[in-house]
């Protein structure tokens, strides 16, 4: 559409060879504003589109302003960060219902969860309807006890001494990205194997992702939160959970 079709066609009408164009005729071809602008050189006032491009033209990266295509940022920490049961007084990973899992829902578990530094990010979305990829990674070790070390050996809290982690987006828990793990200190299992303390084979790593296909314009937040059971009277407790190398990043597409 914005290919120029002059108001007064060159070579014909008043601009035909031998004709006598008036000042108005010439002026209209210089500047004759219309809705689409294609009747004069006024087309360059914001009316140019793909029709004006040479067929061989391919834009290069340098032509595009920074932040136009995508935006991204990452946060992270390498120092260990420890969480202790005292921070989560009264919370439990055992449900009152007696089923084979005997565990609460993610919604209930996540009530006590706290955000982990290095696994939280706050970012601005300049485009309404933007697509956003969140990605995070960390590993952890915990000392939740599976079975008692003294005879008679018993499984503690039905084996529920585990930490749980949750993705929160704008303060709302995402149940797809909720993880509950396992006791990190096996100690004694019913088969009689021995071994005290944290067993590193029971540590877990999580490199997760979340694709949000439409975000509103404005500020948003995403963070991974942790909760530990802390009901000493029921032996449902993770005394300490160490979260190691961690990072969270977002990639935003318009």
């Amino acid at each position: 559409m914005p290919n120029i079709t002059y108001k007064n066609t060159p070579g014909s009408g008043t601009l035909a060879a031998g004709a006598s164009p008036t000042g108005v005729d010439v002026s209209e071809n210089w500047y004759y504003p219309t809705a689409t602008g294609e009747q004069s050189l006024e087309v360059i006032n914001g009316h140019l589109d793909a029709a004006n491009l040479d067929s061989s033209l391919k834009f290069e990266n340098k032509h595009i302003q920074k932040g136009t295509i995508s935006r991204t940022k990452m946060v992270g920490c390498t120092a260990n960060i420890d969480y202790f049961a005292q921070m989560f007084g009264g919370s439990t990973t055992q449900a009152s219902v007696d089923d084979i899992y005997d565990e609460p829902s993610d919604q209930i578990l996540s009530r006590e969860a706290v955000a982990i530094p290095g696994l939280g990010i706050r970012f601005y979305v300049p485009f309404s309807g933007a697509k956003c990829i969140l990605q995070w990674s960390f590993n952890h070790q915990n000392d939740g006890v599976y079975a008692s070390q003294f005879l008679p050996r018993v499984v503690m809290a039905n084996g529920k001494n585990f930490p749980a982690f949750f993705l929160f987006v704008d303060g709302v828990m995402d149940h797809i990205n909720a993880r509950r793990y396992i006791p990190g200190a096996g100690v004694l299992d019913p088969a009689g194997s021995t071994g005290l303390g944290v067993d590193f084979s029971y540590g877990r790593a999580w490199s997760g992702h979340k694709l949000i296909t439409s975000m509103t314009k404005g500020w948003h937040s995403a963070d991974i939160r942790v909760m530990l059971p802390a009901r000493g009277e029921d032996n449902n407790k993770v005394t300490q959970c160490r979260v190691r190398t961690r990072g969270m990043r977002y990639i935003l597409f318009r």
Binding site: N3, I4, Y6, P10, G11, T14, L15, A17, G18, P21, N29, L41, I44, N52, D54, S56, L57, K58, F59, E60, H63, I64, Q65, T68, I69, S70, V97, D99, I100, Y101, E103, P104, S105, K131, I133, Y146, N158, G159, K160, H175, I176, N177, A178, R179, I182, P183, G186, D189, P190, A191, S193, S201, R204, S207, G208, H209, L211, T213, F253, R254
Partner: protein, 326 residues
């Protein structure tokens, strides 16, 4: 072409209709209507001028809702590799599907390299993303028009537990029945949602010395494959799941991969020849069960995996892999 090459009016030159017409053509049809690269300043384009870098994105997430664990239908889906005592062959989602006895741990040649099944939500839905249309990645005409050269795929899976049963179907516990058993996860592609293909790196020099594998050589390396192993106490306390004394596995698997023209070129036919498909529309996640090689012989046991959470995302990028300056 592409620039305004304006011929100035000279002194004493009359303003004739022809002279004016020539200048209008120079300014308009020869200039503004055929803009080239040099007509644009660096940084002249912003979000008002450019399309989204994504021509499509979609995600599939299981389970659909939060609930207590015992009510998650997804945990009811059993990904199982068993054993037929009649034919002495592997059954179900068997990774080492050519294994016939305790002394052999063998996989058939592609495309029958293991039996794989889709991750499901317990309501007959597969963890799959469907593109709006079939995409012929690498087709120059398609790429020139849409600038779509690759698909970014992201997968996360959390295995809940592994279960082990003897030939009578009784749970095995108390010892170490696993023998390094576990599961493998892969990304598969399809153009019709019927025939599914692995993404291979290419040919492999490895050969089957047992002679048990069926099909045509060579073996191939699945580039998206990730494994988890059920280890130690995770494996020993399997049966305790029925006595409220969980010690599950709860291991996470993540896959990040790009599907491009090369990926499709390395899909293989039923004859183990590359180039099975040249377009893709469906992407899914699949699982196969690995019976362990070590410890007690596992070939005639049954191994079952359960999955608690899974999400698969696909992003169609406008990212041309060709050097723009070439």
């Amino acid at each position: 072409m592409g620039e305004i090459n304006f011929t100035p009016f000279e002194e004493e030159e009359a303003y004739t209709a022809t002279g004016l017409s020539n200048r209008f053509i120079q300014l308009g049809q020869q200039g503004i209507d055929d803009l080239t690269k040099t007509a644009f300043q660096d940084g002249c384009l912003n979000e008002n001028h450019t399309p989204s870098f994504l021509s499509f994105c979609g995600t599939s997430e299981f389970p659909a809702a939060d609930t207590v664990a015992s009510q998650i239908a997804m945990l009811g889906v059993a990904y199982t590799s068993g054993w037929s005592t009649v034919s002495s062959t592997q059954t179900g989602l068997s990774y080492w599907n050519a294994t016939t006895g305790a002394g052999s741990v063998v996989m058939n040649y592609p495309p029958n390299d293991g039996v794989w099944g889709p991750i499901q939500d317990g309501a007959a839905n597969n963890l799959m993303v469907t593109l709006p249309a079939s995409v012929p990645l690498g087709d120059p005409q398609f790429n020139d028009r849409f600038g779509l050269d690759a698909l970014l795929v992201m997968l996360n899976v959390q295995f809940e537990r592994f279960e082990f049963y003897d030939s009578d179907g009784d749970p095995i516990d108390g010892n170490s029945p696993a023998g390094a058993s576990g599961a493998a996860v892969c990304i598969q592609v399809s153009n019709d949602n019927v025939n599914w293909y692995h993404l291979y790196l290419g040919d492999s020099a490895w050969v089957d010395t047992t002679g048990l594998a069926s099909g045509s050589a060579p073996y191939r390396y699945r580039v998206t494959e990730r494994r988890v192993e059920c280890f130690g106490q995770e494996a020993k306390t399997t049966s305790l799941v029925v006595s409220s004394q969980n010690f599950p596995s709860r291991r996470d698997v993540s896959i990040r991969t790009i599907i491009n023209a090369s990926s499709l070129a390395n899909t293989i036919t039923a004859q183990n020849v590359k180039g099975a498909i040249s377009s893709v529309r469906y992407i899914r996640a699949v699982v196969s069960i690995i019976k362990g090689k070590g410890g007690d012989p596992m070939h005639d046991k049954t191994v079952t995996a359960r999955i608690r959470k899974a999400n698969l995302s696909v992003l169609a990028l406008r990212a041309n892999e060709v050097d723009p300056d070439a």
